[in-house]
Symmetry: C2
Subunit: 463 residues, 2 copies
């Protein structure tokens, strides 16, 4: 009955079947319960604990079950646009309201506001943050094919209809300007740009989405892809009075764990009774040298099994967005999306969503700009920004600890590059850097990359 | 007595001495009058007619006469930074409050907000527009020289102190990111970037300005450089109940005049009793192939002499800002600065602040984006945007008229390029395109460019 809101309950292909309960299981609350829950006085009390979604109402764009066949038939009669994997990830993001109040791919006015102001002004004059263009590119032949139609069907690579885009608007895709204003550079070699912009069509098409059914990937991880509505229900069920989100796209080491535990301690000190951690690995497109999602999820599970984080106060779920690597611009999107999932605290790292400059020997962004821009961003005033405290390996304690500038000689900084190099070479990091089970997953991952004939480990394919 | 607020009353070197009264003359109101004027009940009534400056109070950073010698002496004891011509133009802009509420060159938080949000959030939570970075670049040796000093002296090319910058903050000048986010391209050949960024230092220095005396150029045009405060006084004196600003950096033709006259007519229809036009040519840095300021001012005067615009309801003054040619980003600055001068209506043209792409055969910006971005820009909600109606030469009327799409064959579009080509070749445009006196100025200007030995007219030097 309520199955339209359930995550695929099939067995995991990549995780052990005895997965831990702190990995959130799909909720089986029937729809009628939810409505009652939300309408009653208890709901009012509980809702006070969760931050409101942007625009006041969580956008949900998935067609209800009784209409799906009708929409599938309608899609067959419309001009078709084939979606890439990244396009489908954005349909997923939009369909569940991560980008609320966006109701579909951006029209030009939303695109321009995003590029110039990193925010959208709503009809009532209020402002919501929106820093990353969520757009769909089409080419000349698509455009000709659409002609005067006001709606188009969006289909996957096997021509299965995924969604209908209504009241469409087609406008120019100035790739150079989009890239310059989003990344602050137009240097060739930006992973997302190479993947999704450089070879994309010269037009963008915006409109209102009707997504025919929930987006699934059938990779054994769908049940961990909770929507903002499902996360809000989970936080409500746990009586969370604060939710702090931790975005990550890398393996978790004990420094991260220390930070998350310390954050909860600080929130308790602030007077919150039950702060809940949303440990929220990014699940969409990542660049080739990042560790793929399935291996990261295995690694996260081992770390959690190790008991470093408390299952009672930790929700692990997958954030379906693709990764831009657009630093201070993108970190706003990462934060804003988590507001829509109910988080009112956001932990921001050093150089969030940063990477090396594609051409020059330096980081693309100033390591402090992400934190600074986030703290000043329009539409994020309601979100509490928690700057990442720097953790490093403390040789006097044989474990990760917050860096103490009075005794720098005691600390060892292990960068992501260093960590990957160790795992590739099957070497061990110092004891206490990461739990042994988590480390083994990393070593296994690099082991799984069959060396090519010249003996070099090939670049892994992005998920 | 009130001389500190007077414009240089010296004779014009480049304009006929019998300049028309619709060229605004400096006001001789003593300071004490102004205060009384502003404090009394009449002032309250009159101020209702003029839009408030951004931040509620017009910033004025010029040191009062009694302190000037003291400040000059203080400047001698401080580390010195040499200003370029463009830097001095920005000091001018800042000193008179065109960029209110900015009190000096941007610190990093203002710079980042400008790049990412085109706006600044003030202490009270309100938002003002600020789209173009107003920054001062220094190099490594400047930075070393400053050491731990919290103030620096800004000096001209003859080491005369211009200003003191206090409570300084020095931060990285990421030229690529600044350019990408301001222009939406990093293509080499952007005039402002080549002039003021590419070869500038790798650091920016922000702080609070104390400008030792009003900035003067001694080019015979200083008396037309009215400050926002002086313009506000002038509009008040004329009992303006609406002020509509027209930014220009090109010769005025009869299509412009038609638009300005028509705008006044529309404002009268809206119920305003005395709408006043601020005809506001840009006076700072322009690219080499633009017509220099002194020739434009001569041309404007001839056009006004011709009686196309009513002197009673027209104020001609020079806007001291340098030109970025940054399209939709810069048009916001052009509009915002005019709010500070009292304008509550802004006429936006087709492709404002636009230019050709430096490398590709296309316009750098979509011609409609300026208008669209301006209408959505944060902090400009109080400003009424008046889109430029397209005027062209109507062959059936032998004059400029608003384009009528029902009879396109009757209209001739004369582009700026075409206009310049005609003037260079001493050919005449069709009768009624521009008054003969104005046209003669243009022809004289191109005539004044001595052909070089190979017979080609050299590129003029920017003012």
């Amino acid at each position: 009955m309520a199955s339209l809101f359930l995550k695929t309950p099939g067995p995991s292909q990549s995780l052990p079947k005895t997965h831990k309960t702190h990995f959130v299981l799909p909720q089986n609350l029937p729809l009628s319960w939810r409505s009652k829950y939300r309408a009653g006085p208890a709901a009012a009390r509980i809702r006070c604990g969760l931050i409101e979604p942007d625009g006041g109402k969580l956008v949900e764009l998935i067609v209800e079950e009784p209409q799906r066949d009708l929409k599938r038939r309608q899609a067959l009669s419309l001009p078709q646009i084939k979606l890439s994997k990244i396009d489908i990830q954005w349909v997923h993001v939009l369909s569940e309201g991560w980008a609320s109040p966006l109701k579909g791919f951006m029209r030009e006015s939303e695109f321009l506001q995003t590029l110039h102001f990193n925010s959208l002004r709503l009809g009532d004059g209020s402002v919501v943050n929106m820093s990353v263009p969520i757009v769909l590119a089409i080419d000349d032949s698509n455009k000709n094919n659409i002609g005067d139609s006001s709606s188009v069907a969006l289909v996957d690579d096997k021509d299965n209809p995924i969604a209908i885009l209504n009241d469409i608007e087609i406008y120019k895709h100035n790739k150079e300007e989009r890239t310059a204003r989003t990344w602050g550079t137009t240097a060739p070699g930006l992973p997302y740009a190479e993947q999704a912009i450089t070879h994309a069509g010269n037009w963008l098409i915006g409109g209102d989405l009707e997504v025919i059914e929930p987006i699934k990937y059938h990779d054994g991880l769908d049940r961990f892809r909770l929507s903002p509505a499902e996360l809000r229900d989970e936080f409500t069920r746990r009586n969370a009075d604060a939710v702090f989100a931790f975005q990550l796209r890398n393996p978790v080491h004990n420094g991260h764990a220390l930070l998350m535990t310390d954050t909860r301690r600080r929130l308790l000190e602030m007077g919150y009774k039950n702060p809940v951690l949303l440990l929220h690995p990014l699940g969409g497109y990542t660049k080739a040298d990042d560790v793929p999602l399935e291996w990261r999820m295995k690694q996260h599970e081992m770390v959690l099994e190790d008991g470093v984080l408390d299952p009672e106060t930790t929700v692990v779920s997958i954030f379906p967005s693709p990764m831009h690597y657009a630093g201070p611009t993108e970190v706003q999107w990462h934060a804003k999306a988590r507001i829509n999932a109910g988080a009112n605290f956001y932990i921001v790292g050093r150089d969030p969503a940063g990477m090396g400059h594609p051409l020059e020997k330096r980081d693309l962004y100033d390591a402090d700009h992400g934190k600074k821009v986030l703290s000043m961003a329009p539409g994020l005033e309601r979100l509490n920004i928690l700057p990442f405290k720097v953790a490093a390996y403390d040789k006097t304690q044989n474990g990760m600890a917050f860096f103490d500038p009075s005794r720098p000689q005691d600390f060892l900084f292990i960068s992501g590059t260093k960590m990957r190099a160790l795992a590739k070479n099957k070497e061990n990091p110092p004891d206490g850097f990461m739990c042994p089970g988590g480390w083994k997953v990393l070593v296994d991952y690099y082991d799984s990359l069959t060396p090519s004939e010249n003996g070099r480990v090939p670049e892994p394919v992005p998920v």
